[in-house]
């Protein structure tokens, strides 16, 4: 039986092999699914955003400024979902020591930070003409700014150690600690009085948004989610290849010396 050799290895050895596993299988699989994910993302997001920008009706009181919603709201959702996926990757790194989890966390954080930045800036661009202020320190805006700094903190922390493993571990702990911010963001508009309005789309009631606006928003959000996944997957592929390059270069130096 061909499997006997590998199964008879001691446990410590399999863990090592697991950690530096041949990346070929991940790269082959992800290389197959990345193009369709990217294509779906581009199609859905384009349709949603063009629909929202040119064809969806204006709002009865906000007029055309409401169109900022079609970029702001998906960015806001993905800022939170991105952090949730960062926390999941961190948990699977700490608990199951999954070999890809650390790299995934490192690659999720910058994409999440970028989407959070989009959310903050478009929110500001929406707030100025509607509310009359670029920024107010209410609970919603402050908690999303904290989310942005959590992402930035993670980006800095994983690169702050000479030993990458220690950086991964510190980053994973930060990511899990920061998870408490997610319910605070979600419920900030209910727990405190804020300038930001409560959610229009809830699990419990009818959406307080006309269907003619809900459809383009749903498409933009779905396209954004596929886009987020495609960006993370592409970066993860690059990171896996770069890790293999480092390992091979090190091996060459060792055997050459």
């Amino acid at each position: 039986m061909g499997a006997v050799n590998t199964t008879s290895l001691p446990a410590g050895n399999t863990r090592n092999l697991h950690r530096f596993a041949n990346p070929g299988q991940f790269l082959r699989l992800s290389g197959k699914i990345l193009p369709p994910i990217a294509a779906i993302s581009i199609i859905l997001a384009s349709v949603g955003l063009i629909w929202g920008l040119f064809f969806a009706p204006s709002d009865w009181q906000q007029h055309d400024a409401v169109r900022i919603m079609y970029v702001h709201v998906p960015a806001a959702w993905l800022a939170s979902f991105g952090y949730f996926s960062l926390a999941l990757a961190s948990a699977s790194s700490l608990i199951w020591r999954h070999p890809l989890a650390d790299l995934a966390a490192v690659e999720i954080a910058p994409v999440g930070a970028a989407f959070t930045a989009i959310c903050l800036v478009t929110g500001s661009l929406w707030g100025k003409p509607m509310w009359g202020a670029w920024w107010v320190w209410d609970a919603r805006m402050t908690s999303v700014l904290v989310l942005f700094f959590l992402y930035l903190g993670h980006i800095a922390l994983v690169r702050a150690f000479d030993d990458p493993q220690r950086g991964y571990r510190a980053g994973a702990i930060l990511a899990l600690v920061g998870v408490v911010n997610l319910p605070i963001i979600k419920f900030s508009v209910e727990w405190w009085n804020t300038l930001h309005q409560p959610a229009s789309i809830t699990l419990t009631g009818a959406p307080t948004m006309a269907p003619s606006m809900l459809w383009p928003l749903a498409l933009a959000a779905l396209g954004g989610s596929f886009g987020f996944s495609a960006l993370v997957l592409a970066r993860l592929r690059a990171a896996v290849m770069e890790r293999r390059i480092r390992a091979l270069t090190l091996a060459q130096i060792r055997t050459g010396a």
């Binding site: 041949n22 990346p23 070929g24 790269l27 082959r28 290389g31 955003l49 920008l53 007029h63 055309d64 400024a65 169109r67 900022i68 970029v71 702001h72 960015a75 910058p110 994409v111 970028a114 930045a117 989009i118 800036v121 478009t122 661009l125 929406w126 100025k128 003409p129 886009g227 495609a230 960006l231 592409a234 970066r235 592929r237 690059a238 290849m241 770069e242 293999r244 390059i245 091979l248 270069t249 060459q252």
Partner: protein
């Protein structure tokens, strides 16, 4: 359109950031692929 500058800035910024991320990831992948093709004895990594 009323408030056109704010709307244009929002969409423009979003597009710019996403394009920047996408092109960055693509360049990183192709750089790594070229390098790997030179040094990987196993080859066959796409």
């Amino acid at each position: 359109m009323t408030h056109l500058p704010y709307i244009a800035a929002s969409y423009g910024l979003t597009l710019a950031v996403v394009l920047w991320l996408g092109i960055g990831a693509w360049q990183r992948t192709s750089r790594a692929r070229v390098k790997l093709a030179q040094i990987d004895p196993r080859g066959d990594v796409r």
